[in-house]
């Protein structure tokens, strides 16, 4: 007799949908979450809590990763890799360790992937050095769950017709767009002038209250990086975990660090071992296990769950766990609307803080430009105001263009100028991070965390094609920024991974030799273990992952219901 029908490890975008759907269906569910259970009334607009201190993420002295970065090429063509602990580098790869995971602190700009993203290899052909693959499911199979997420998570927006619009089963979003910042008019004008189509970005943010106690957005202007104080943001905690708890069928155990998944002699998972908030080792058994710890930590947990039936780690019979890790390729930049160069009334309007920009471009989602090369996958450009974090912003002013430290009155002048002279309009470029043999998760043989378990080692190699595509979009975006009237335009594309946009590592597929999961996101070699964070994604698409992770987790919840 199992303790629970379903045990879910992790409570973010992969765990929340499964918890809600199965608890609603009457199954007994337990969710084990490594981080604390912070509630709505724990979230304030406090840069110290969100971003200057280790509150939402672990202290790197106690829990770290090891990053393997490219360190040059040998004469024989092989690469050197330099390993460094994130405790030494300060490069934090954690993203929201708390009930609801990183969705608590997301900006919530949401995109669906497109039908072509599900069949990248057959649509655009192979790319040398990249492990491009078609997905084992189609867009049409996931579409109903994208739609379900719109309602259950609370996604606002406006469906628009354009060249690369995804097919929808409903005519429009269940919630209208959030209020928009006056700068959107300038963005729109610039885009129209270039015959581009600015699109309203959907957001996992409610524009008004709904009947389950979530209030509408209060437009404080502090959204990304911050927890939501109104309940408007569609975090897994707010939108899914809290309703799951309300069913009376879902128990949350926070500060529960899962050490391993245990299996029986038939290879079937039977229980998980975790350390509770008091440091005591506990076990919980279940019929079905769902792993959703975010890509890096999911791969780590499976690798740590080795036993006689899974000697290389759970699901790792063909050495695929951790492989083909994905981030988001591309880059970012900004341009400035200088207040003194515009009409004073417009300047005052642009100084408003609170409403969203809600604008993006997908005109180059597929690049069909003979001068650039054969038809290929492109990406998305999203416009945004910089996060308001004034301390981080101030700190960026203390070095001059020659790299010298500035202080005294000179520093104060720079500060005043940086804060008051212009509106900085940022852009971010999202391209596919091609899966390669140089980007993967393994266990570090020497570095251990505070529970004495090996930490994840992450090799972060990238494919040069990512840079090529990113720069194509950057050039186009700079033209847009210039046309809309910004000055001091800067931007760059690099192979440095944004650690908050993780996927892959346990890709799904039909062949157990080249994938960890089957099309249902079930481990090929463990019939009662599913993975529902972004780990299953074989190719990244050119949008943030969160909506797709939510949608797929709703899909897997239906599959689990049938299996129970």
């Amino acid at each position: 007799m199992s303790d629970f029908d379903v045990c879910i490890i992790g409570s973010g975008a992969g765990g929340g949908p499964v918890a809600l759907q199965l608890a609603t269906a009457g199954y007994n569910v337990v969710v084990l979450e490594k981080g604390p259970f912070l509630k709505r009334d724990d979230f304030y607009k406090d840069e110290m809590a969100c971003c200057r201190r280790s509150v939402y993420t672990p202290q790197l002295s106690k829990e770290m990763h090891v990053i393997e970065d490219y360190a040059g090429k040998n004469p024989n063509g092989t690469y050197n890799w330099n390993s460094e602990s994130t405790y030494d580098s300060g490069w934090d790869f954690w993203n929201g360790n708390m009930v609801g995971g990183a969705t608590n602190v997301m900006s919530g700009f949401f995109y669906r992937m497109k039908p072509e993203d599900f069949r990248l290899k057959s649509e655009f052909g192979p790319i040398k050095g990249a492990n491009v693959a078609d997905w084992p499911i189609s867009y049409e199979q996931l579409e109903p769950y994208y739609t379900l997420a719109e309602t259950l998570v609370g996604i606002s927006g406006k469906a628009e017709t354009h060249s690369f619009a995804e097919p929808r089963s409903t005519t429009d979003f269940p919630y209208p767009p959030t209020r928009e910042h006056p700068v959107t008019d300038l963005i729109d004008n610039g885009c129209y002038e270039m015959n581009l189509q600015p699109l309203r970005t959907a957001r996992a943010i409610l524009p008004h209250a709904i009947d389950n106690g979530r209030r509408g957005c209060e437009y404080s202007g502090y959204c990304g990086s911050y927890g939501c104080s109104s309940g408007a943001k569609g975090s897994s905690r707010e939108a899914l975990i809290m309703p799951a708890i309300a069913t009376g069928k879902c128990e949350i155990r926070d500060r529960a660090k899962v050490i391993r998944i245990r299996s029986n002699q038939k290879g079937k998972a039977t229980s998980v071992e975790y350390i509770d908030k008091n440091g005591v080792t506990q076990h919980v058994s279940a019929k079905i296990f769902v792993v959703a710890c975010q890509a890096v930590e999911t791969a780590r947990l499976l690798l740590l769950s080795s036993d006689s039936m899974h000697p290389e780690g759970l699901g790792n019979r063909f050495n695929q766990v951790g492989k083909n890790l994905l981030f988001s390729a591309g880059g970012s930049g900004y341009g400035e609307f200088v207040y003194k160069e515009m009409d004073n009334s417009l300047a005052q309007e642009l100084k408003a803080r609170g409403p969203f920009i809600n604008r993006g471009l997908q005109d180059w989602y597929i690049i069909d430009d003979k001068q650039f090369g054969p038809r290929m996958k492109g990406g998305t450009v999203d416009f945004l105001l910089r996060h308001p974090n004034p301390i981080a912003r101030a700190n960026s002013t203390k070095w001059n263009d020659d790299g010298e430290l500035v202080w005294g009155s000179a520093l104060k002048s720079r500060l005043k100028q940086a804060f008051t002279d212009a509106l900085s309009l940022r852009f971010e470029i999202f391209c596919d991070w091609l899966p390669t043999d140089d980007c993967f998760v393994s266990l570090d043989s020497s570095t251990k965390d505070k529970w004495s378990t090996p930490v994840a080692k992450i090799r972060i190699g990238y494919h040069d094609h990512d840079i090529k595509v990113g720069n194509y979009l950057l050039d186009k975006t700079k033209q847009v920024m210039d046309t809309m009237g910004t000055t001091n335009i800067r931007g760059s594309v690099s192979g440095t991974p944004p650690q908050n946009l993780q996927a892959g590592g346990c890709r799904f597929g039909k062949d157990p030799k080249t994938s960890v999961l089957d099309a249902d996101c079930r481990i090929h070699t463990a019939e009662n273990v599913f993975v529902t964070d972004g780990s299953w994604i074989p190719t990244g698409g050119s949008v943030p992952y969160t909506w797709t992770i939510y949608a797929n987790a709703f899909r897997v919840a239906d599959i689990i219901k049938k299996q129970l």
Binding site: P36, Y44, D46, E47, C51, S225, W407, K412, S492
Partner: protein
């Protein structure tokens, strides 16, 4: 590394963590300081760092060492120049003590920040026959410019500047930025709701 981080931040923006900066400064600063300290005599003056709260009075605090010297350094870094508040106005020294007293502050960081004062005083005693706080303004500027030429000294100053920015722009609940003076000067609109005294970051973990 810290210098390149500025460019890195500019190029990658919000897709990367913004809190990365303090950690990188901390680790690099520490590594450099250990090298630099090898040739120096560190004065045995590690102060008592207990009992500070955001209510601590800046005037009273800076009457004692090492806070008097910290305050003098901060005043040079963030002076009274008719352009917004100075270090004193934002309770920069009280805030610094708050950080040094905080349980989550890395002990290595704490020791390094304090040892930096000894380092600076040693330089001033050698060159001006006075501790830093007793030097005139010209001598103080001169000594800061000198230490900024070393990696460790530059990073020490960089770290103190970061803590000045925190005092200037964090919520007043942490002891700096009284009545939002920093926000007002930089025309920064704070978010809402703001943290109450029982929901500061250290109350959440």
């Amino acid at each position: 590394m810290d210098k390149t981080l500025k460019n890195w931040n500019n190029s990658l923006g919000p897709k990367l963590l913004e809190k990365i900066q303090i950690s990188i400064e901390r680790r690099s600063f520490l590594a450099n300081s250990l090298k630099a300290a090898a040739g120096l005599v560190i004065l045995p003056s590690m102060p008592s760092l207990t009992g500070c709260t955001p209510d601590t009075n800046q005037e009273q605090l800076v009457a004692t060492q090492p806070w008097k010297t910290f305050a003098a350094v901060q005043q040079q870094l963030f002076p009274n120049d008719d352009n917004g508040p100075d270090a004193k106005n934002i309770n920069a020294t009280v805030y610094l003590k708050f950080v040094l007293d905080a349980k989550d502050t890395d002990p290595d960081d704490r020791e390094f920040i304090v040892n930096g004062i000894d380092w600076l005083d040693e330089l001033c005693l050698k060159q001006f026959n006075n501790r830093f706080s007793a030097c005139n303004s010209t001598q103080q500027k001169n000594s800061l410019s000198q230490i900024a030429k070393s990696d460790a000294g530059e990073r020490w100053l960089s770290y103190l500047l970061l803590l000045i920015f925190e005092a200037l722009l964090s919520d007043p609940v942490y002891g700096g930025n009284p009545d939002g003076i920093g926000w007002q000067w930089l025309e920064h609109q704070p978010g809402f709701p703001r943290p109450p005294t029982n929901k500061r970051y250290m109350d959440l973990t």
